[in-house]
Point group: C2
């Protein structure tokens, strides 16, 4: 039996494994976590709208009915391209490593946030990528309001009610919009000593406009929507320092400016999974600045047609595709089809990305969308965003639960998952 | 304005604060957490059926519309009965303490699990009381199956698939039943190398029957239901040691027996909140063996009619009432009514507990109930349990979400919140 090892249970790896159903292959799906995480909604966990399990689906449950998939919980330590073997570190007590031989490897390790060499900033400015970091951010945001309410010295309150989001890509814009809605819609009436609407929400972006990946007219619409919500976009500003007291920003040619803020959230810069670096080193190729490994038009590693790599850890045929779920999903399905075709003696055609568009939401009834050149904003964009995200969310139960949470939030302006939880 | 400080946002404190609505008092509700936790369902978080936010309700959201309640996030450090002042440690950066003067104090600190002087056991045998400990238990249970599946040496698998629950009160019985259902119903088909139904689930209890707080005939029914699910009750057995390798149990007059088990869960023994000890020391009275403070028939501290204490941290008029939500809720409402009556110059009548009954669930369609002498078991008891728990769960949204999760779990035998998450 042809052995396929899929590394990563994100959007790409999941599609690859699913589309190998009924193929004459034995699939091993390796992931560090026992669940698939619906990344595009993690920010809603960070802002207390959704509960973790509502945007995660257990991998084993998904592959219960697909007998040719074996799920392995562990972290890839090494890829031996010559021996065609992946080494996986497990949770076992003696830390025994597992060796998984493969005939085809599909590597989909994803990416993580990059602090541009300032790893010390991470402590003060957490990112929102994993469920754990989302829960930490949720705790920080909610505690900032609690502490402001308790703070006996009014002059110390302002930094507690100042929120800085670094990076105005879709995640940064969504976070800024959500924090504004918490302050404006959810919390008023909750406190007796502070007025949450007095909070300052700053969105810092190096580029000269928010959502730099979108057409300029939509960036303008988004900025307008952010301002209407009470968010102050600081475009054309670079962050030069972050510490416990806040951030320092600087506009080109201007003086550096300190912003006293207790809560800083990082949503800028992405770096490819270390898996990309491992593959590049093993194949003797160079990664790009963001650590991505180059693959051919058929998504395979140079010199290694048996190794597919995909998602936001690769550069496809010299082109950097957007780090979006649809890209990874299409690539995952392509890899699965390519494996099938090869087993039938056929040569797969090159991968072609079908761009279905780009959406970003800012808040209630506020979103922008660029759908194959059709520009949407306001309510139509927001409804499209809602529909698309509900549709792609994995699991009937999760769709229903998230739908209910959204309806209740919309009607009550409340947030059902406003819990401050701690790691014990 | 008459100042009421309520300590604790559990069942008792919540009812007290709610029933002071529209009373001519200023209420300050102090809790370490920003949410009310529906304790009776925490075990369902520990077993992946429910997500944390579904059984928790933010305190501020609950009191948004009740202007005379101020919620304070902090931990009570000290109660000064002479000065009528509570000192609260806050999360503020300089750890500034808050002093809350009161005219009436309502203390409802609850209880925690007691390891009977073996605090070192806690590390190996976590309890299920807080959301955090429930998530840790969930991780341990799910990882045990994952590790068993990965374990290359079959002879090492048995301890990984052995689960020991210490204490066969309602929580222990519920946990044992849930783990049995995970192994029997949820997981089969999920693993390629192990058969989860081969797991051993042992329920250790010092008394001679499970659910010792229930009538003997219902204990027998519960034991029968547990055995049908594959749980082995070890009644009449005391735990004499717990370590990383498992537990040692001993029946009276018999030899001690070692059980190799990776997962041990503690559901035995309860000790009152340290608040009870603080009040007892301040009032010059003795606590009982479980640390409970004695209060009079009107729930007030001896010599301090302005201090009510209630819930499972008190002994009422020499009687230890069961540590159940309805007891605390009735006591909380009583305290609120007593405060109102006194302000009107009336003398409150003594507190009288109305015993509405006792329910424990074992699994799908399996439960027992003792409702004012009417004994229920099987499907009727189970439906009663479901209805009562949904009814008392706080928040319309939570009720709806939990209802949906339960229906989906019942139909699919799946568990929507089977996530292994870590503290970062």
């Amino acid at each position: 039996m042809h052995r396929v090892v899929v590394v990563g249970g994100g959007f790409g790896g999941l599609q690859a494994a699913k589309h190998l159903k009924d193929a004459p292959v034995a699939v091993t799906l390796v992931d560090r976590r026992n669940f698939h995480l619906f990344q595009p909604l993690v920010y809603q966990v960070a802002t207390g709208s959704l509960s973790p399990a509502e945007i995660a689906a257990p991998l084993r449950a998904m592959f219960k009915g697909q007998d040719n998939v074996d799920v392995v919980l562990g972290e890839v330590r090494d890829v031996d391209l010559a021996a065609r073997e992946v080494t996986v570190a497990t949770d076992l007590e003696d830390h025994e490593q597992l060796r998984l031989p493969y005939d085809t490897l599909i590597a989909a390790g994803g990416s993580s946030y990059s602090y541009f060499g300032h790893e010390d900033w991470k402590r003060f400015a957490p990112e929102i990528k994993s469920l754990e970091s989302a829960l930490m951010v949720r705790r920080r945001i909610l505690l900032a309001f609690e502490d402001a309410d308790l703070e006996p010295h009014p002059e110390h309150r302002a930094p507690l009610l100042t929120f800085v989001i670094v990076g105005a890509g879709p995640t940064g814009v969504e976070m800024a919009g959500q924090i504004a809605e918490i302050a404006r819609d959810t919390l008023p009436g909750d406190y007796r000593r502070i007025d949450p609407t007095q909070g300052r929400i700053l969105l810092v972006e190096t580029a000269d406009r928010v959502l730099p990946g979108f057409p300029a007219s939509l960036s303008a619409k988004a900025e307008q929507a952010l301002r209407a919500l009470g968010v102050t976009p600081l475009t054309g500003h670079a962050v030069t320092a972050i510490d416990a007291d806040g951030v320092t920003v600087q506009a080109q040619g201007a003086q550096a400016e300190s912003i006293a803020a207790r809560t800083v959230i990082w949503a800028a810069g992405v770096t490819a999974s270390t898996l990309a670096g491992k593959l590049a080193a093993a194949a003797g190729v160079e990664t790009d600045r963001a650590g991505r490994v180059p693959v051919g038009a058929d998504l395979t590693l140079p010199g290694h047609p048996e190794v597919f790599a995909l998602g936001d850890m690769v550069v496809v045929d010299g082109k950097t595709l957007p780090g979006l779920a649809p890209v990874a999903m299409q690539e995952g399905r392509y890899a699965a089809r390519a494996v099938r075709e090869r087993l039938q003696g056929r040569t797969p055609r090159p991968f072609r990305y079908v761009d279905k568009g780009n959406l970003a939401t800012i808040g209630r009834r506020r979103a922008v969308g660029d759908l194959k050149g059709v520009h949407l904003s306001g309510l139509p964009a927001w409804l499209t965003w809602l529909t698309v995200h509900l549709f792609y969310l994995v699991g009937f139960q999760n769709r229903l639960l998230v739908f209910i949470r959204w309806v209740v939030s919309f009607v009550t302006r409340g947030r059902g998952a406003r819990l401050i939880t701690y790691e014990d």
